[in-house]
């Protein structure tokens, strides 16, 4: 099936998560081959996810783990 850009935009998230049917995946990929706009949207969305998974982006507060295990220590001693 020939997809237009709007169809592709609506599927970008499922496409990234690999939860589209093989047929739809093929249609999307055929569209991406010639559409710079959709390719750029896909790439930038993927980049956001790569960046989100990078531990430096969302960091735990300093000493978080130590304080958590100290609290647990007290809980384990009491219960």
């Amino acid at each position: 099936m020939e997809l237009n850009c709007k169809h592709v935009w609506a599927q970008i998230s499922d496409y990234i998560d690999d939860s589209v049917t093989p047929e739809l995946r093929e249609d999307i990929e055929r569209h991406l081959e010639h559409c710079e706009i959709c390719s750029a949207i896909l790439d930038s969305t993927r980049n956001i996810l790569v960046l989100t998974a990078d531990d430096r982006t969302f960091e735990l507060p300093g000493g978080f783990s130590k304080r958590l295990h100290e609290r647990l220590e007290r809980e384990l001693a009491a219960n």
Binding site: W9, S44, T45, N47, I48, T57, L72
Partner: protein, 216 residues
């Protein structure tokens, strides 16, 4: 599949730990919880939205998980069970705040959003891998996530930061899987739109390019 074999081994190891803790070796709970500390904290932060409360809620959630470990039956994955406890802890905290401050809403988030102050624009010709190394891009992403409406911020955190799968995120939030997908799509597209100026790697074909986005 190596990945799923590893996952199976990890979950068997976890089941073993849980059995030992319940049999009295309670100090092993430290080891059980260690891989999930980050997930619990990030989940709380997505709900309560500040470091101090997120840390308090994370500690409470972990202590609750310890106290109720006997109720964990292993039908769900331990991570899903723990994420559910974390979500409930954060939501309870918001409800306590609501009672303490009668004019605040269940979701105090929308309408109270701070003005978005974009970090300095990076050159759009920059290649993505270099761009991803930039500190200000990470800051821009943190701001953009912080300013998502609550339901979108929470689903984005569970799926893309905590890396729960669709079924696990649905269980933790008490919504159906389709809702997870719809909200996640929306969240990602809102972030894409907000961060597009930092992430573009090709020149727009036309000036109206970014105005044509369906979520504009």
């Amino acid at each position: 599949m190596q990945a799923s074999a590893e996952a199976r081994a990890a979950s068997e190891r976890e089941a073993g730990l849980i059995a030992q803790i319940l049999a009295g070796r309670k100090e092993l709970f430290h080891e059980l919880i260690q891989p999930y500390e980050r997930m619990v904290y990030m989940t709380e932060f997505s709900i309560v939205r500040n470091d101090t409360d997120a840390e308090d809620c994370a500690q409470d959630a972990v202590v609750n998980a310890y106290r109720h470990l006997g109720k964990f039956r292993g039908e769900a994955k331990f991570s899903t069970w723990l994420a559910t406890i974390a979500v409930n802890e954060g939501r309870q905290h918001l409800r306590r705040l609501k009672r303490a401050k009668e004019d605040s809403l269940d979701e105090p988030i929308e309408g109270e959003e701070q003005e978005f102050t974009p970090a300095p624009l990076t050159d759009w010709r920059e290649i993505p891998l270099e761009a991803l190394e930039r500190k200000e891009l990470r800051e821009a992403l943190r701001s953009a996530v912080a300013e998502l409406p609550g339901i979108y911020r929470q689903i984005f955190t569970l799926r893309d930061l905590d890396e729960l799968n669709v079924a696990e995120a649905a269980a933790a939030l008490g919504i159906n899987e389709n809702m997870v997908k719809v909200r996640l799509h929306r969240a990602r597209m809102m972030l894409q739109k907000r961060l597009a100026p930092y992430l573009k790697n090709t020149a727009p074909a036309r000036k109206s390019f970014w105005r044509r986005m369906p979520w504009s």
